[in-house]
Homo-oligomer: 367 residues x 2
């Protein structure tokens, strides 16, 4: 099957990567971008051509522009390409649909709109890093609305297939609720915690450890983009934020009880246990169930070559490293590397690495 | 100067490591632990002896037991060793002091108590991984109270010096406020977020990414220990939690506004900007100011030896890796490794690594 010719509006990483994937599969792709240099860079990378198509021939339009511009660009595409299915790759769906519903005079036209959302592993801006295989085996959510036509849904399914992604069909509200919970809420929790640091004295921050860094990492992301995402998903985010608000009230009551009656910390324990249970529900790597890897801690000198030597010797030992994290000592020129390995391999690896002169130990519970 | 003979109560990682450090410096250390096997293991590692000292000769007692037991064990030590300075290594100070104040009949005795808190890089349980150099160049906070005697303070400063840690003196309230802000509050924010996941459907969790994993990582820690820590620092934690509660109210109002009036997201932007500003206040590695490293993303096959080859070749290129993070593809057998390097070295490294066949790219802004 074919969806050719395709028009791609927005030649950033996601758009240009779709262009590369479709071009590889023999589809004709026409690139459009407000920045003509973006479109030209994407074309140079094999994402398609900057030539204009014959509008009436276009079968599929993929809109890959920032969240705030989506509704307008989609409406424009429905007008400009009267025979095309139009989809988008936005990370929030309901608001866009609502605005289309209000702004598009002839609602029958909306039969040709079917939203979608590829969960690309890393969303970086700009076409320079585009890759045809960005979506291979990634989840790509298709979000038909109640007026989406069968032909349009089929075209978007074909798009997902051509990009070799894994198709998941959710309705618009289900999708927005899912990303509100597992992506947008964690982002705002990180922002709340990081925001509190603006009122902390520098001396106090000297006591900061890896935990604080982990919790606040994503709060360092681009506020411009997140302003659009949060604005677009306000509807689905509000119940999540209010649920956290209630839970925070409970937690504060529990801590107040602990303060008033020393030893009465069972309420606090309940919250901590719930948190632990929540972490265990997050799927592990490769989509598998969470697993208890053994954690090994190695001291590594902070110099070129040290990590290379370390991993070369781990490789020689035939052990696959499942996960990795580094913590730098604030003062000494060393880092502590935590390696996750299969539990059955841990003891042997510790012995081998010690023989080779590494400071290595099995980690127990972590505070 | 000497603090010998020393009694160490609690032969876990922190206690046994103090024993090793003091023994190396020629101090006589006597180990006590509720678990006699813990004490023997620690002695076997060079942390001291399990023999009883002459109680009246003891100059310094270091109490390294779980938070809930601290006050009682300190009070016991003040009784048992009538001429000794008594310190502890607990992560919360005011509650313990308060309980001592209430429980110790003869308050003059409290002259001999001076609290302290070594910020060991990784707090793992059990003596097996004890190391004499655990505290080298780490911050070790000394928290005298208003009745602490000069001789006691001098003895604890000597302890810190013998362990080669960096002495910081804070009063009890300052210390507890600092750890509430930079350690205990982030922990509870992580717990709140992770707790919310207990109500999320498994299909929704399939959309989870690295951001969620980072924010919830520390919520996977031991609830037993954190129950004690939160209970002990309830007083300092409450204002932090209430500040977050107010900020969350503001955030919810801002998101409500964004929902009611699409486009009115300036309130949301304010919160996002505050979060970004907060992340920039966290000190970088080696206690230096935060720095903008260049971020490179490399695709690595998920097989033994791949990381070894990668780091060996980075080492040959003479580039020091400042930080490292790994993200596993949920389905494909590859990982994406993010490397932070000095910005001036990034372009050269990318070129070199590409020549050697690695898929490597410079990351832009991250969502």
């Amino acid at each position: 099957m074919t969806v050719s010719p395709v028009v791609l509006i927005g030649a950033g990483l996601v758009g240009a990567s779709i262009g590369c994937a479709l071009t590889e599969e023999g589809q004709q792709v026409h690139l459009r971008d407000l920045s003509s240099s973006h479109a030209r860079v994407a074309a140079g990378l094999g994402a398609g051509t900057v030539d204009e198509p014959v509008a009436a021939d276009v079968r599929l339009v993929v809109v890959a522009v920032p969240p705030a511009a989506l509704a307008e660009v989609i409406a424009g595409a429905l007008r400009d390409y009267p025979n095309a299915t139009v989809t988008d790759v936005g990370s929030v769906k309901a608001g866009v649909l609502h605005r289309l519903w209000e702004s598009v005079g002839d609602r029958a036209v909306l039969e040709r709109y079917v939203g979608s959302h590829p969960m690309a592993g890393s969303q970086r801006t700009g076409p320079v890093t585009a890759r045809a295989d960005l979506f291979v085996d990634r989840t790509w959510v298709i979000t038909p609305h109640r007026r989406s036509g069968e032909a349009g849904i089929a075209a978007v399914r074909e798009l997902v297939k051509l990009c070799r992604a894994r198709e998941v069909v959710l309705d618009v509200e289900e999708h927005d609720a899912a990303v509100a919970r597992v992506s947008h809420l964690p982002h705002l929790m990180s922002v709340l915690m990081a925001g509190r640091l603006t009122e902390v004295e520098p001396e106090q921050l000297q006591l900061a450890g890896q935990g604080l860094r982990d919790v606040t990492r994503i709060a360092g992301s681009d506020p411009e983009l997140w302003q659009q995402i949060v604005g677009a998903n306000a509807h689905a985010l509000l119940p999540e934020l209010r649920a956290v608000q209630l839970r925070l009230d409970d937690l504060i009551s529990a801590v107040e009880t602990a303060q008033q009656t020393p030893g009465r910390t069972d309420g606090v324990r309940t919250e901590l246990e719930r948190g632990l249970a929540g972490t265990r529900r997050i799927p592990g790597k490769h989509g598998s169930a969470p697993r208890d890897d053994a954690q090994l801690v190695v001291e590594i000198p902070d110099s070129p070559g040290a990590l290379g030597r370390l991993f070369a010797e781990i490789g020689e030992a035939g052990v696959n490293v499942e996960d990795i994290a580094i913590e730098h000592d604030q003062v000494r020129e060393v880092g502590y590397l935590t390696l996750a390995v299969q539990p059955t391999l841990a003891d042997g690896l510790v012995a081998t690495m010690r023989d080779r002169g590494w400071e290595i130990r099995q980690a127990r519970s972590e505070v």
